[in-house]
């Protein structure tokens, strides 16, 4: 079990390197023709750019990133990229980190509540709300929240002056994910509540709340945590939109800016960091999965994917 997670953690860097390799392969079509769109470094000698082969450039990039934390030069300012990139990563991680907590904090209780009130009006209300919000694109939600809370009610500023104003971007991020979590939790809880052991526990005289919270809930958490990876990937996508909508300086606006100004080095830096975040997230998903499903601890062996069997 411990060995499994050590290996998973050690595998993070090779995974990220594989992602970088894919990007470099895709970049091959650009490399031959356009040297202005290559990765740039502080110690580049003018005129020698484009002399390295694609594979050499890949090796150089990986070495610099992992051994020296050097992401290359910022294309528009000619200054090292790493400090700016780390600042932006902190902004994005803060948003998505709080976002993922809020997502589960809203989604789990809603899903459990809906499953316990199955077939009644509370259930149909929550089910239709979750369908609506999981279908809503994040920028439409952001627009609605801003129009209502900032421009009509004037509770918060659109320009994010006070800490309290960050409620709107955070709500934009987490409501859509919460709808998905609630949907999955409701389905999982409803399935567990139909199992015979719930009925037998009730007939043994245990109270309804004790059965739900001490026995059924643990099983219902499994599907909710198995989608942690997807939830986080959606949060990263959502943060691209939210950062642009509210003019935050995070990774998302860096990606948009890099594409707009043809800044390959910045874009590569962002892609590397997102790949790193997502592979850490994969390990966290497995960890959460084992936490809520202890029976897996014995079967864990290296090379087996935990989640695959449960996906359909």
């Amino acid at each position: 079990m411990l060995g499994y997670f050590c290996k998973r953690i050690l595998l993070i860097i090779p995974t990220v390197m594989a992602v970088i390799l894919l990007v470099f392969v895709l970049m091959a079509s650009l490399m031959g023709t356009d040297t202005s769109r290559m990765i740039r470094y502080e110690d580049d000698v003018p005129g020698q750019a484009g002399q390295l082969s694609l594979l050499e450039q890949y090796g150089k990039y990986c070495y610099r990133v992992f051994a020296r934390r050097d992401f290359g030069l910022n294309d528009s300012y000619n200054s090292p990229l790493d400090e700016d990139l780390l600042k932006r990563t902190a902004v994005t991680l803060k948003m998505t980190g709080i976002g993922v907590f809020a997502t589960y904090l809203i989604g789990l209780p809603l899903g459990v509540f809906a499953a316990c009130r199955r077939g009644r009006w509370q259930d149909s209300l929550i089910t239709s709300l979750t369908t609506f919000f999981s279908a809503l694109p994040s920028f439409c939600l952001a627009l609605g929240l801003v129009l209502f809370f900032a421009l009509r009610l004037r509770w918060v500023h659109v320009t994010l002056q006070d800490p309290a104003d960050y409620v709107i971007p955070l709500a934009t991020l987490s409501v859509i994910g919460a709808a998905n979590v609630a949907k999955v939790t409701r389905a999982g809880m409803a399935e567990v509540l139909d199992k015979p052991f719930v009925l037998s526990l009730r007939s043994l005289g245990l109270s309804r709340s004790s059965v739900i919270f001490r026995h059924a809930l643990k099983n219902a958490l499994i599907p909710a945590f198995s989608i942690f990876n997807t939830v986080f990937a959606n949060l990263i996508c959502g943060s691209v939109v939210v950062e642009r909508f509210f003019n935050l300086r995070g990774l998302g606006t860096c990606i948009i800016g890099a594409v707009g100004s043809r800044a390959t080095t910045s874009l590569m830096g962002c892609v590397t960091i997102v790949a790193l975040i997502m592979s850490v997230c994969g390990v966290v998903t497995d960890l959460l999965f084992v936490l809520v499903n202890p029976s897996l601890r014995r079967t864990l062996s290296f090379g087996s994917s935990l989640r695959r069997g449960d996906r359909r």
Binding site: L26, S29, I236, V259, S279
Partner: protein, 279 residues
Amino acid sequence: MKRSVRAFFHDPVAVGALAVLLAIILFCAIYPFAAPYAYWEVNTAERHQMPSAAHPFGTDYMGRDLLVRMAWGGRVTLSVAFLTGLIAAAAGTVAGIACGYAGGLVDSVGMRVMDAISSVPGLLLAIVFDYLLGMGHGNFLFGIAIAGIPPFARIVRAAVLEIGGSSYVAASRALGAGPLYIIKEHVIHNVMPLAAVQATTSVADALTTCTILGYIGVGISPPRPEWGLLFDMGRKQLRSMPHLSLIPALTITLCIICLYLVGNGIRDSLSAEGGAHGR
């Protein structure tokens, strides 16, 4: 099959959603020919108009009619969404059948690749593809399509494994049926309904990604209207003219919700037939 089609048309929500969706598609297809304006037609005398009889959705900062721009934008957005969604459906179904039927090394390598694709945020995939393969040539379509493949492959693979273990396939094999015959006659017939449900989700996801790309200014370039792009242009006049961004936002939301409702309708009508594997 017939029974589930009938069940689908007895579901008022699903039929209503399908009707709304078809109405939007038809409107986008026909209105540009009937419209009194072109989508690029600038009329500085009629800038910043609120909705009126001449301009039902108002005009933007260059006096362009929003209704006709919405119709043209819908053509772009909806064709991107349906095209990439259906490409993802086809590729994912083929990949799922291949993995599920071949098993062994093909299966484990294939599903690993699917795991890798689905761990990259779909939006980022589209941005990177568009940037690296050359912008302005519609290369973001590859990104959207590829991001849509893994869920299909997983669903189809699971179904294939289930069907492959069933006794009638064993019987068919005992009677001398080759793998291609079994795939054609048994596997595809059983997988199609499941794939149809997933296809609505996949088109909805492609629609979301496409509009987000338009909104952040990647993909379709400005002279052409696209719903996400129209939303972004309207956002600059959020205080004075909220309808410029509200109309695109509501249209996008309506389309996506209708797609989900149609998908739910198909799923319900399949379970009305008794299991997803009815033929």
